[in-house]
Symmetry: C2
Subunit: 203 residues, 2 copies
C-alpha cells in the first residue's frame, strides 16, 4: 500500500517546514470542535503558534486545552480507473499536544523570528522588529513535537486487477503551490526593490 | 480593516468549490481534538465527506458527534514593513454541524459523483462507477451548510503610519495552486490519451 504512517523526525520536520500554514483544532468549553487556519513555525522540537490575545483560539489554548495541529501538502490528484480507487498524493503531519504560553521575552522574540522566517527566509533581518507593546499584543504558544506523526501517499493509482483492461485514462495530475512575482505595496517608497526572497520565493 | 467575516452564501459556496481539500475537526470520546485532511464536495446546501468505514474520523462522526470543517485557500504572503503587521491574503470557510450518515443508495451515489466531480470535472463520466460492494465499503456523511461562514483578507499590507518611511520593501507575494502536465499510470493501456480535464486542469 502506498499510504502509510511515518514517524521519522526528519520527515516530520521537513513537512512542517515546507507547509506554509497549518490547521489548528481545539475543543471549546462547551465541547465543540473548532478548526482554524494559521501560520506555524518550528524551532527544533517545538512548534510555535501566535496571534492576537483576543483570538478565541489562543484564549482557549493558553488555558491548557489540548490541541491538534495538522499540516497538509497536496502533491497530486490520483485518477484511478475506478471511482473507488481515486485518491490524493500528499504529505501530512498531525501534532497532538498541550500548548504552553511563551512568556519569556527572549523565547517570544525567537518564536516570532521563527514564524517570520518560516514565511519568508530573510525577512526578520529586513523588517522592523516587534517593539514592547507589539510583543505584549501578541500571544505565542509552544507545542512540543513529541506527539507528532506523518502520513503520506505517493505513486500511481492502485486499481483492481480486472480494471486495468478498461479503456479509461489513469495517472497523476501533479499539484504544486507556486509563488508569483512580488507586487509592490502602492505606498512603497520610490527606489526600493523587492528582496531576493520575494522575487525568487522558495520553501 | 481588510480582514472580515462574510456570510454571503455565494462566497461561501465558491470557496468550498475551489478548495481541493478540507480539514475536518472532531472531538474523540475522551475529549481530544483531532484534525484530519480529506476531500469534500458540495451539492446545493450540503457538504459531503466520505471514506472507509474503518476510519476513526467517520466512525466518530457517524455516531452524531459535532464536526467543524474548514477550508482555506492562500492567495498571498503579506510582507509589511513591520514584523507585527505581516499577514496572509486568504479565503476560508468554517462549517459547523452534526453530520448524518447517508444510507440512501441514490443519495450516496450522487454524493460520490459530487466528490469525483469536485476532484476532476468530467471524471464521473469516464471512470468505472462504484459497484455494490464498493458502495457498502464507503461511508458517506452529509453536513448541512446552514452554519457556514467565510473569512478573508485581500489587498496590500497595512503598516503603522510612521513605518511607511522605513527603507523596507513591502508588498504581496502571490500564492497559487498549480496543476502540472498529467503523468500516465505506468500500467496505462497503449493508445489512451489523458482527458482534457487532466491536461487543462482547472478549478
Amino acid at each position: 500500500m502506498p499510504e502509510r504512517g511515518d514517524h521519522d523526525i526528519g520527515t516530520i520536520n521537513s513537512i512542517l517546514d515546507e507547509a506554509l500554514i497549518c490547521h489548528v483544532g481545539f475543543v471549546t468549553e462547551d465541547g465543540y470542535p473548532v478548526v482554524i487556519p494559521t501560520i506555524h513555525a518550528r524551532n527544533g522540537n517545538t512548534l510555535y503558534l501566535h496571534g492576537s490575545p483576543a483570538s478565541r483560539m489562543l484564549r482557549s489554548l493558553k488555558g491548557g486545552a489540548e490541541v491538534c495541529v495538522t499540516v497538509t501538502i497536496v502533491d497530486g490528484l490520483v485518477l484511478a480507473r475506478s471511482v473507488f480507487h481515486h485518491s490524493m498524493n500528499y504529505r501530512s503531519v498531525v501534532v497532538f499536544g498541550r500548548p504552553r504560553e511563551v512568556n519569556d521575552q527572549e523565547e517570544k522574540l525567537r518564536a516570532l523570528e521563527a514564524v517570520t522566517e518560516h514565511v519568508a527566509h530573510g525577512r526578520w533581518t529586513d523588517a522592523r522588529r516587534p517593539n514592547e507593546s507589539e510583543l505584549k499584543g501578541t500571544t505565542v504558544l509552544a507545542v512540543d513535537l513529541d506527539e507528532a506523526s506523518a502520513k503520506m501517499r505517493s505513486g500511481p493509482p492502485g486499481d483492481d486487477d480486472e480494471d486495468y483492461e478498461l479503456p479509461v485514462w489513469a495517472g497523476i495530475v501533479p499539484v504544486a503551490t507556486t509563488y508569483g512575482a512580488p507586487v509592490d505595496d502602492p505606498r512603497l517608497r520610490r527606489g526600493i526593490e523587492p528582496p531576493g526572497y520575494a522575487t525568487d520565493y522558495q520553501r
